[in-house]
Symmetry: C2
Subunit: 465 residues, 2 copies
């Protein structure tokens, strides 16, 4: 082998094996060349739709023999350029591997293929009394959520993908297949390969089966919307809720800009003020107890309006609006694209971090709604940019890099849940320092030819150097 | 370099730098050559006591230059031969790195050196209202607990080391120093190096600083001891408690043999019958609610004696007795050694697994108390063997391998919390299959000369082959 990418040979062979499940159609390739953020598109040379682990292994073996890059693809909702085929190659679209393989209700786990959508999984689980709590804003695949170590609004209570995946089936860079973890709740059997693949963004292997933990649908649920006189007051209430140990299920902050955007997009009539969206899970008595504690803390911080609901349809409308907040932001401006920041800091620094960030945004020349999973110390500023404005991208990146520097100085991270992709490779170096060299050693060991999602997490030539 | 271990040069240099903190005293070396299990002792050539990360880095660099094996050592309580210096070399005893570096009460985390004992950490935290929940039976170091991915009686509620470590400082095989993770509650920044080092048993690096999550001491705590007419009935009660979602803090099973041993050793008067030790944490109302639910489930399973206590001194006596259960087992026979099994299965298979195991132990020629963290599906049989009986080791190993085969067939693991060490290297292959090759690739990438705790997890020549 001469080390060069023989993509034509690969496509010919894939078309023979997969017929209409392998395409070079321009529109399809373009749709697979980007996620939901501003990062420039980079279409793959072909898109293939496997139906089974063995088929994924066939594709990877073929690409390995021909030195062809491989980009795994779920629903295309990533925010840091994780699916861009920056060196061309084959996009492995896993959306047709979308079966729930087994639900083990007694053990509160289930085995699924990576293309299962998170909403679909919960729809299928409904009769079991169980649910899968992790809920990024987007309607995404569980495989994609594994790849980016996703979390969402429930993480403060139920953890992230890190805590909620028990085991994986993974196709490695040479086409071999391994199983990691298992169905036991804990294990000390060797290196934690499950956690290594979670958050590896397709750079170490392609996940083809996932065992996730499920949780009991709580006996009682109540939600509340609470507005505050200032963002400081809202954040202070959050910090106290966490510090007194209320086992809150969701505690989400929106600033006034976000609330206004959500009102317009989702046809709500919330007061345009810094606002917390809350949810409580437990027995009826425990929900009442939690809610009373939180209401008292909110009143101490000057909250005047505490609006409750335990009706399922109200809650569903509320959380749908919250999940659509990014799209609501984009809708503030015609023909816009988003640059979404994702810092996460220790809770004691959250008020400082948000206050300094808001001060820094005072002269920002574009809408910049702020919202986040504040119970975890994680928040996003969404820069809503004109689609064709390199100046706005530059300004958003300047403000973003200041946010990250601020978060790192406070002991935080540049990304709580979106991952590195193309967008944060330099920031990862700032954050992890020499740790990035260790990551690169692992990448080299598992994918020496750098065919698995090259250019993501590391710049394309870094792990191989 | 010729690749041979120049241990004499290493010792000379270490003695120059560390003077009395480096010793070749025979007794000291012997004490560092084994843990608390039956595995044959293997003393290191020297023991050195660093006081700082930089000193550990100095030791590792020196050993790397001289191809000398390095074995990190905490309190010497491991159960699978993790500290045996099977190829000689330098034992790095971290017990003098025992400072609590920082307690961040507002963020519910703290930064500690690896030699801090878990009991000592909780003693130092007492005034903060916070505690560190992970509690293996032994009085061990937090560093050792990181190394083996330890858990204990609280894991059913609070998770294991995997869930309770936020970040690490690690000295790598070339003496370089990295920091992993951070103080943010979640992060999607690249590969999860923190989880990779947790459970790596000193084979990938030496952990020199640890950031752990803390939890609020619950407002109310109640404990109970409940005996059952049969072990099946006890396990059935456990399964129901877990499946109805009681957020129980501890739920520990002892069979009649264990209860008898504990009565003798800890001077208790428990009924000699299959018994659950329980603990409930929460608000007073929530503890009462949990306890009522569990009592009803226990009565349904035929439990007649449900004995309660919310007095701190009673609870402390109870859990001290539980933590000493292994030593109580050893005390059943003079001059005995233990082989402790550690399977963990999905909760739905726990009753079958325990019943079949008990049937298999019917003709066991030595005491074999059974106990465990049954809320996680994890239990131990402790084979109490004569100190000089290869026949008993052989018989215990035969029964052990049947237990593991049974657990693996049920979707479980060969080790819930003790790790692989020397004792379970073959079992790891049965469990993880080709995954072990991936572990070996990582080991090779991070420690190409195989100087870090060689022979553990992998047989000595495996990763290098």
């Amino acid at each position: 082998m001469d080390g060069s990418n023989r993509i034509e040979d690969v496509i010919t062979t894939l078309q023979a094996q997969f017929s209409e499940r392998c395409t070079v159609n321009r529109d399809v390739r373009d749709r697979h060349g980007r996620g939901e953020s501003w990062h420039p598109s980079a279409a793959p040379d072909a898109v293939v739709y496997p139906h089974a682990t063995e088929e994924v292994a066939d594709i990877v073996r073929l690409c390995a023999e021909n030195n062809t890059p491989i980009v795994p693809f779920g629903a295309g909702t990533s925010l840091e350029g994780q699916v861009q085929a920056v060196r061309g190659g084959v996009c492995v679209d896993l959306s047709q591997m979308n079966s729930v393989v087994a639900v083990n209700a007694e053990d509160m786990d289930c085995v699924i293929q990576p293309g299962v959508m998170r909403g679909e999984l919960n729809a299928q689980l409904r009769d079991t009394g169980l649910f899968f709590p992790i809920d990024p804003g987007a309607e995404c695949t569980i495989g994609g959520m594994v790849a980016t170590r996703a979390s969402g609004t429930n993480a403060v209570r139920y953890g992230t993908m890190r805590e909620n995946v028990l085991g994986l089936t993974v196709v490695l860079a040479d086409g071999s297949i391994i199983k990691t973890g298992g169905r036991a709740r804990k294990s000390a059997a060797g290196y934690d390969l499950t956690r290594l693949f979670i958050g590896s963004e397709g750079t170490l292997g392609i996940v083809t089966e996932i065992t996730v933990r499920l949780h009991g649908i709580p006996e009682a649920t109540a939600a509340a919307v609470v507005s505050f006189p200032s963002i400081d007051a809202a954040v202070e209430a959050v910090i106290q809720v966490i510090q007194v140990g209320v086992p809150i299920a969701r505690i989400e902050l929106m600033d006034d800009v976000s609330v206004d955007a959500v009102n317009r997009y989702s046809n709500l009539k919330l007061s345009v003020a810094p606002t917390l969206f809350l949810e409580f899970h437990g027995s009826p008595a425990s929900v009442r107890e939690q809610a009373e504690t939180v209401e008292a803390l909110a009143i101490e911080q000057g909250s005047a309006s505490f609006s409750w609901s335990d009706k399922a349809e109200d809650r569903s409308q509320l959380w749908q609006a919250r999940h659509n907040a990014y799209y609501a932001g984009l809708a503030l401006k015609a023909d816009s694209i988003g640059l979404v920041t994702d810092v996460c800091v220790p809770i004691s620094r959250l008020a400082d971090c948000i206050r300094e960030t808001k001060e820094d945004l005072a002269d920002c020349p574009m809408p910049a709604p702020l919202l986040g999973h504040v119970g975890d110390g994680n928040f996003h500023v969404c820069f809503i940019m004109d689609n064709d404005s390199p100046e706005q991208v530059e300004e958003a990146e300047r403000l973003h890099s200041r946010m990250v520097a601020r978060a790192l100085a406070m002991g935080g991270t540049c990304t709580g849940e979106h991952g590195i992709g193309l967008g944060k490779r330099d920031l990862l170096k700032e954050e992890a320092g020499e740790g990035v060299s260790v990551m690169a050693l692992i990448k080299n060991a598992l994918d020496p030819a750098n065919i698995l999602n090259p250019g993501k997490i590391f710049k394309s030539d870094e792990p191989a150097s």
